[in-house]
Amino acid sequence: MSLAKRLPAKPTPLYPLMRFLGIAFLYIIGFLILLVATFAVFGVAPNKALFALQQGALGGGPISPAYAISETLVRATPLLLTGLSIVVAWQTGMFSIGGDGQLLMGALTATVLAQLQHVVNPNLLIFLMLVCGTLVGALWGAIAGWLRVKRNVQEVISTIMLNYIALYLVGAAVVGPLQESSHSNPESNLLPDKLLFAHILPPSWSGGITTRLHSGVLLAFLAVPIVWLYLYRTLQGFQLRIVGQNPEAARAAGISVNQTRVRAMAISGALCGLAGVIQLLGTSERLSANFSPGWGYTAIPVALVGGLHPIGTLLSALFFGALEAGSVNAEQTLQVPASLIAIVQAAAVLAIIGVNAWRQRYPTELKD
């Protein structure tokens, strides 16, 4: 008999929490070990690399902590929102990987609206951009939801397709009607300052350099308790989770499984649409052909490491953001490529998947 079968399932009330903490701990330790090993394999001095990572993420050496932490937070923001989007979808049992597409559509919508900058009050316009970007993202997600519900198309496939369609819509826009004035680059004009999120950290805190920490980051963090409240404290959220755990039982309890699924995909899309607008107005400041470096896909490990829970995803996004900030510094100072960190991230997530699956046991039902 395999080892997995000899472990009894332990149904104590604190089990989920303990499991999460255990996994988080294992992940960090395992991650560090893997990281060091990978550094060694590629001929990078592990202690120098780790130090560079730490500097980039939290400060130290020539980098002021305020700057480093700002970077961490800024980089964590899109991951947080896309991660939350995955959480909402997956808790309903819908494996959406459409984050990138929904994000792009949000940013595209905002850029289109930005063309009205001369006729509309800036604050109102920002508000409109946020709302419309979110709604368009929701629409993009709802399309996949509808296809699943009405045509039984696996979300994995439909969301991938929608991603590419969005990608090329943006691509067409930034070499067409939205292209910047000199018509030489596949990107839009820089959005005017009045439409951008303010940088909220005074430069004096970070040794004279203006950090990139913008007010949109706060908005993103606000999403965490909202999503948590929705999932665990409202009727819709409860029913959403039932649909994810057992759609048949949900149906028997009078829940419209189809409606719930489409709604979940819409919410999921909305979160990513919002992410797109926040990125546009806070960091990127313009729409370009390669607007997203794949946040929608990185969101998957983020959500997994976060245990598919909103609070866990927050912590996980912060971790991933820190890692990104750190790896940028490592790349600049030691030429350690970011893709190397990506390998370790992916490998570590695989380890989580493996461990999770290994410990997953369904109690065997008594045969007659």
Binding site: Q154, Y164, S339
Partner: protein
């Protein structure tokens, strides 16, 4: 070369990797396993095939290495899917990320950092841009058809995908059967990846698979888990992809007029000036076509009943 010939050759070049990958995935899905990591296999195999050819100089060996890479990758995936019973979709997606990271890093360390490019020998060309891998894909279609529907092994494989309990009761090892299917899946995707870097071109570029692995997934569904359907759907994709490449270079208006003239159609769109039509919308076209295919065909499509569900032996 005439434009039509250009489109046709382009179609062959686009279709070949899609077809190989889709054929492999059809077998895997028929056995009940969904391998979303195709993109990762394509990329990794493209890299290893190119790297091997770079060092050894023989592109045939490069293809072989690509094939082996696909198999290794698939076995690793199989460990997660068949032994650990992990969720297949999640695992596949993370595998893709892993592959992206590792090929990017290795390329960086071995080439970009040293300002070298990965340019290699190419498979000998049979006719214009066509290499041997393209015509070989047709016997592959026949082979998969024969395997699935005329052999004992194919019967057992399809049983595993429809009702693994019945297969188990008949004494068939569901795990072994699915593993074999995955090995084939990996091998085919490995060949497709090698095609990209060693047949269709002579270089490796980071992320050169550009989503072909995902299109292959859609092709399998659109082709109704049937090798002939895969052939048809792959051709469709190859064709639209090829069209947009031509449109990119020539401008849509020119292309349209030539195609229409060849096909003796009236050119009623001639009045519209389409030269400035952004080619990106053509890049989107195959995906829109896929969506429409999925939209239309999913009603009568029957996926293998046990697809994606791990089978736990009692």
């Amino acid at each position: 070369m005439s434009i039509v010939a250009g489109v046709l050759l382009g179609t062959l070049a686009e279709t070949t990797p899609l077809l190989y990958t889709a054929l492999g995935e059809t077998v895997a899905q028929r056995s009940g396993v969904i391998n979303v990591g195709l993109e990762g296999i394509l990329l990794t195999s493209a890299f290893t095939a190119s790297l091997a050819t770079y060092h050894i100089g023989n592109p045939y060996i490069g293809v072989g290495i690509g094939l082996l890479t696909g198999i290794v990758f698939a076995l690793l995936f199989g460990f997660f899917a068949l032994v650990l019973h992990a969720d297949q979709v999640v695992t596949g997606v993370v595998f893709n990320l892993f592959a992206l990271g590792i090929t990017g890093t290795l390329y960086r360390f071995l080439f970009a950092l040293h300002d070298k490019s990965l340019i290699t020998a190419q498979l000998p060309l049979l006719h214009h841009t066509v290499t041997i891998l393209t015509p070989l894909s047709l016997p592959a279609v026949v082979f998969v058809w024969w395997w699935l529907y005329s052999t004992r092994s194919g019967l057992e494989l399809r049983a595993c995908g429809e009702q693994p309990l019945a297969a188990d009761a008949a004494g068939i090892s569901v795990r072994k059967t699915r593993a074999v299917a995955l090995i084939f899946d990996g091998a085919m995707a490995g060949i497709a990846g090698a095609f990209l870097s060693v047949a269709d071109s002579n270089t490796f570029v980071p992320n050169m698979s550009a989503g072909k692995g995902f299109i292959a997934l859609a092709i399998v569904t659109a082709g109704r888990w049937n090798p002939i359907g895969c052939l048809v759907a792959s051709l469709l994709f190859g064709f639209t992809n090829s069209l947009q490449f031509q449109a990119q270079t020539l401008g849509f208006d020119t292309l349209y007029r030539h195609m229409a003239a060849t096909l003796h159609l009236t050119v009623f769109l001639h009045r519209l000036n389409l030269d400035h039509f952004p080619y990106q919308l053509f890049l989107a076209l195959p995906y829109v076509v896929t969506m429409l295919i999925l939209f239309g065909s999913s009603r009568s499509t029957r996926a293998p009943a046990a697809l994606g569900r791990p089978y736990r032996k009692e």
